[in-house]
Symmetry: C2
Subunit: 321 residues, 2 copies
């Protein structure tokens, strides 16, 4: 199915009065940043517009919500238009799906290659590094003046989804848009402080504790670490706060495969796998009933932590031999 043009999508948005924007659950910087940029622009045009959410806003993204977000599905009784941003599969906004479908017209702006067109109007571009890039282009097609507020939201979207312009999904266009946002007065030093200098002290403590468990395997080409429910209790941290541990493990010189084992509340073990440059961790994950990509994959094991450790040690060693 062909994408609509930004001009077509801009036209239906212009014609609507009451608009709800739907970022995906477990919102990240791209989902919320893109939604905030769009909401800001639409309110400036006099639209009644909200970002409808179903879960909490992460602390480091709270600065993006300038009164845009609501979890109240009746904030607008009946919207003319629903726009899902950085997602296109209703499973990504399951608890808001009925409300989404209630609109006269639905629109999808997404960059996930796995998204099938679900809406009346769709713009899905898997080559875009971030949905924020697509929202930027949509706003230009709508003759929107990009001010510092919109610029900050789009910069947050792009910089988080490109790993600060380091991931290989980053394109020339990511940088060209960032350059244009700079001209619009975006203060990226400020955005960066909000995004990255807002760690709970409990995050530092749990990262420290988890990294303290690391063991190298396969002659230093593999590394495994873990976190237990007990460690979470002792540090006061939540499991989400261990999200960067596996990348830290992979950052060790000589390490090709990193595995991070998370003991779940129901006594299973969630495994995150990363490879650096040659190994395929999707294969390991698939063998253990999981899946993912070559460089990032995962699975869930119904066994004890020490059994999971031994299992992964064997798999990693085999993969690297």
């Amino acid at each position: 199915m062909k994408n609509n043009t930004f001009e077509e999508i801009g036209k239906v948005i212009s014609d609507a009065e009451r608009i709800l924007i739907f970022p995906h659950v477990n919102m990240d910087g791209d989902a919320l940043g893109s939604s905030a940029a769009l909401c800001s622009a639409l309110r400036r045009r006099g639209k009644e517009c909200y970002i409808l959410i179903e879960d909490r806003i992460p602390a480091n993204l709270a600065f993006l919500d300038r009164g845009f977000c609501t979890a109240d599905q009746n904030m607008i009784k009946k919207q003319d238009l629903s726009i899902c941003v950085d997602c296109g599969d209703p499973s990504r906004f399951e608890k808001r799906r009925k409300k989404f479908d209630q609109a006269d017209i639905t629109v999808c702006i997404d960059h996930h290659g796995t998204t099938a067109p679900y809406c009346d109007y769709n713009y899905i571009d898997k080559d875009a590094a971030a949905a924020g890039e697509l929202i930027y282009k949509l706003l230009l097609a709508m003759d929107t003046e990009i001010d510092a507020e919109i610029g900050e939201a789009i910069f947050a979207a792009i910089t988080t989804d490109t790993g600060n312009f380091q991931y290989s999904n980053t394109t020339a266009e990511s940088h060209l848009i960032a350059a244009a946002l700079y001209e619009a007065g975006t203060d990226w030093g400020k955005v960066s402080t909000e995004l990255y200098e807002n760690n709970r002290i409990e995050r530092i403590l749990i990262e420290n504790t988890a990294l303290g468990t690391m063991s190298t395997v396969a002659g230093g080409r593999g590394v495994i670490a873990y976190v237990t429910q007990n460690m979470l209790g002792e540090t006061g941290a939540v499991m989400d706060e261990t999200e960067h541990v596996v990348e830290k493990l992979r950052s060790i010189a000589g390490v090709e495969i990193a595995a991070f084992l998370k003991e779940t509340e129901d006594g299973r073990v969630k495994v995150s796998l990363r490879s650096k440059s040659s190994a395929d961790v999707a294969v390991i994950a698939a063998e253990l009933g999981g899946g993912g990509h070559i460089r990032a994959a995962g699975c869930t094991l119904s066994c004890s932590l020490s059994e999971a450790f031994d299992l992964l040690k064997g798999k990693i060693t085999d993969s690297l031999s």
Copy 2:
């Protein structure tokens, strides 16, 4: 004193046959990346060209040295041209100063605002985020085709000196150059892996140990941590490997001032100070005989670690009250 133009500098470079490039001591990604891009381009033009260094290349920058670097001052007996890159004050290449001065013509390409023109030809632009941006413009002025090898070196220079495009020194031009490098085939995923996924395991261990010492002060608005010689001995790490600890401390939500205390080999205490958004740590450092900038400053104290801790605790509390 006025800068020369890139065209003038390009002309003297074109006229030379034997060229030595001088990055500053304690070379960083910008110093070595800029030097490597220039050396690569000049060798392609048939010049006899080396990067003359006086200290070791950090492991994460080794990929930039494609046979360019030498510590042998006699590699070229008598050079026509000396070019200092990312520095302009001879104190930044003290052990190579005589060799530098021995050239018929000297050139400086730098972006430090404190650099006074020392060379026959100078291009000093304090508004450039990285010397790499200036080298890029110089190479364009010399009609150099930017290939992937030069692109990687310039990308490494810019991304390290801008904190991956997050620091407030980043400009639209930083992004525009990155976009142009992408078109030249630069693989920034590869560069990023080299730069940031090359940590010795000892670095992880010492970061962990140092972060484990942190105490909050001033009701959580300040945080202090330390590293001892003993900790270095136990982890096998070197002091340089604690360089990111103070930024990690500052990244804690609510923290405005972070202090990191390093016990030196001769029993003194080096203090690194960072502030997040409002406090002026240069004032604290100056009161203790040091100096620096509003957001990053330091000093060295001749006292015990516990005395230094108490002193800083008092200063931080005063500064935040």
